[in-house]
Structures are given as C-alpha cells and as structure tokens.
Amino acid sequence: MSLWESISRTGPDAQRSLSTSGATVRLADFACASALEGRLEALHGRSVLISTSDQLAAALALIELDGIARRLVLCPPDLDPKHLPYVVATAEIDAIVTDRADSVPDLAVEAVVSIARQLHTVDVDRSPQHATEWILFTSGTTGVPKMVVHTLATLTAAIKPSGTLAGPLVWATFYDTRRYGGLQILLRALLGGGSLVLSSPGESVASFLERARDNGVTHITGTPSHWRRALMGSAASSISPVYARLSGEIADQGVIENLQDMYPQAKVAHAFASTEAGVAFEVTDGKAGFPASFLGVNESGVDLKVVDDTLRIRSPRTALHYLGRNDESLLDANGFVDTGDVVEARGDRLYFVGRRGGIINVGGLKIHPEEVEAVINRHPSVRMSLVTGRKNPIMGTIVAAEVVLTSGDGALDPGVVETTKSEILAACRSSLAAHKVPASIRFTSSLAVTASGKLGRRNA
C-alpha cells in the first residue's frame, strides 16, 4: 500500500493538514489536486532526488511520489552541493523534484520537476505502480554522504495507532522531516490521523512554538539539544502538549525532568532510534536509560543485545543496506545493526554513556563526554553543556567543559559565576572519578547545535 493509500485509509477529514510558516496544505485535497504542476506522470518509475529549500515541499513530494517513483532520495537541508554528483551517480538519479527550479545544479538528469507549497486542482491517478525505495542520509557524518535504503514498510513498522484524544491530533517537531527522526514524525502524523506543524528555514524557536500553539499542538518532539534551547526562553510555556518526546541524543535525567516540570500534564518519553537501526524503543517511566528487561526480543520483533558494550539491534525497522558502499555492511551476519552507542549496566537498568569513538583519553583513562555532561546538566542553573578533551602537556588530554546557564546570556554576576562553578565541580567530584571531573569550566551563552539537532562535537 502506498503512502497516499495509507493516508486515505485514516480518513483525511477536512481539518487535517501539513503546515509551515505561510503555507498550509489540507491532506484531503490530494485526492483531486497536486503540487507537481501536472507532471506526476513524468516521474513514473524514476529515481527521484527530492531537493527542496522548504521541508513542506519535500513532505508533499513524498506523498505524491511513494508508489509512483522507483526510488526517492530525500536530500537533507545541509547536504553540501559538492556531493550532489556522487549522490546522483550512486542513486542512479534520473529526475529532480525541487522548489528552486531557477537554481538547479547542473546535473545530468532527464527531468526536473517543480514542486509548489500548495496544491492545484488536477486529474490525478494515484494508483501505486512501484514498491518505492526510500533513501535517507545518515546524520552526523562529514565527508562523502552515507545513504541508507529503507522502504515505507521499514519506516512505518514502529508506528502504532495513537490513543484516542478529545480533540484533533496535532504533531509538531523541531526535527527536519528530511532526516530519519523528523520523517518518523511526518509518517506518524500522516498514518495516525493527525496534522503536522513544520518549522521553516531560519524560523526562531519562539515563533515556531507560537505557530504550534496556534495550531493546537498535542504531540511534540525534538532532541535533548532542541529542548534545552526551547526551555531557555519563555516560548516553551505557551504550549501544553499531552505528549513530549526526546530522541536523537542521550536524554539525561536533567532534561527529562526539566521537560516534565514544564509540561506536568504531558507524557514525557525518550526514544532510541537511528537512521540505520530504525526506532528501537521508547522509555516512558521518566527515568534516563532503559530497563534491562528491554534486552531480547519484544512483541514487536525488536531484538536488542549488548556486545562489546555497544547496543546492537535487529528488527523489522532497520534499513536494508547502504547504497553504493559494497564494502560496508549495514547488518552483521545475524542481521543486527551495531549502533556504536556505548551502554553501561547500573542495577537493573542500562544507560547510554556515549559514542564509541567519541572517547576522551586522559592519561590512558577513557571518558565519554556525555557521562560528564549528564552530571553537569543536573545542576539546576545549567541548561546545557559540552565536554571536550583539552590538550595538556602533563596528561596528554584533560577534560574541559563549556556550560550554558538557564539565565541565558553572559551578563552574569561574577560572584554567581564562581559559586555556580564550585557547585558544578562539587557535583562532578561527588559522582565521577577524579580524571572525569572537568579541569576547567567556561560559561558561554550558547553551544552549536548541528542541522540534525545534535550538540556539535568537534570529533563527531
């Protein structure tokens, strides 16, 4: 069944929509209208690059083209144009759908089709003819982009019917729907009978949240970094969702509790997912980490195990393989994805401690920056922190921390700064080994967050 057929089955009443700043598209209108200026026919059976400046346009293209195109390649907003020739060759792209028809890069493709942010009435045949491959880019990689192959089935396997709500179901997400995390939310809205509020390029967190409020948002998702930024302003208090979710980075106890305090009426959940492994699980008990009982196979067919301290996942939701990387296998011989995320058992729970490869080495002792950040972030005055290795002539490397306070900008009373610094260090010393305690703490007004919503790590 194609995406459009699935949407139709959920009953697209007149209220359901996808919206962004300045544009709203009603799902019901797809029955007799199109955003492709009557050129849907030209894309039958093609390998299509969806390259748009606006994520609403990309979402419309996905609804239009699943079941029609042979392959959909969803370009993330930050893809360096210099990699386009590689992408076109590797994914055998022969058509581009774009909302920037005036600035299409010079690529050898047969068709360039414009997509609008609105639908025009037209006779349209949406009967599916292909089992379309969905190609997504992995997040957090630099250099040559890594593409993974999904299908609508792998992408939607984690989506369960949403519970009954008193009013309309309205999703909003800080993620970009052109990456795995955001695409999950788009598909949840489309297949779960809801609407979705999307952010616009360059839009502030405050104005996005205002639009979400005006649209009656009930479900909202983002990374811990997105949420820490949102919680810094007053805008977060303007919405009152029934469900707020964190994923894409380690959700530490601090951010989970801050979010629950902001939305006492909401179910606050954190989830584990990656582009390769798909959605693995959701944790709803308000605690960081996940119960050890999640290991093994669950009723959804998701199989989790820990090998060499990293989480491995086998499930119907994993991607099938990498595209154009014959030497690199996405799945091991038994069908497991190695997530590269290091976990540590404490009692009957497992905690994410960081990325394999993201380790700071202090005189031969290994430290995951995330475990230090989690301690720093528990201080009530801290909004977010970044722990890095700092070169040191004595130990090779020592731990350094940059910290953003809840009070925001750097206009801080020097006395308060010193007190806060001492308190953070005392907290670190009471729960971390000496070599993990930051040797230096610097307060800053902001930390870089990547396009995929994750804290920018220089070694990532």
Binding site: V362, N392, P393, I394, A400, A434, A439, S440
Partner: protein, 86 residues
Amino acid sequence: MSTNIRSTIVSQFEQVAAEQHHKLAPLTDERPLMESGLDSLAFAIVVARLEDSLGIDPFTASEDAQFPVTFGDFVKMYETIYESAA
C-alpha cells in the same frame, strides 16, 4: 610582576589541592614537584588553569623546555615565559 606570577601559581596549587583532597607540602623553592602533594592529574589541572589565567603554557611554548624538578624551577619557568611574552 614576578611576585604576581608566584602568588598566582601558589594559589592554584592550593585550590587544586583542596579540590582534589590532597595535602599540600609547604611550597618552598627547593621542594621537588613530585613531593608537593599533587598527583599528575592535579598537576595537569594546575597547568591548564594557569594557561587560562596567565595566558601562557610554558610546557608547550618552548620545545626544549627542561621539565621543572623543583617548585622554584616551575615558578621560574612561568616567569621567564611570561616576561618574554610581555
């Protein structure tokens, strides 16, 4: 100027020793660094903090720097680099 460097260094030794719960020996010029009461991690932290407060790291600034043996050598190393940078 040089008394400033010395007092900055002494106060960093004292602060880091207190943070790390090390007992600091009296910091005379003849005191071998190995017997100052700081372990290598604490010593690394002192060097990092001095770089932050004084803007210099004599260990990295000069490739052929002799590793200081006594506390007096250590202070002299900072004073020399600090004056040449000023």
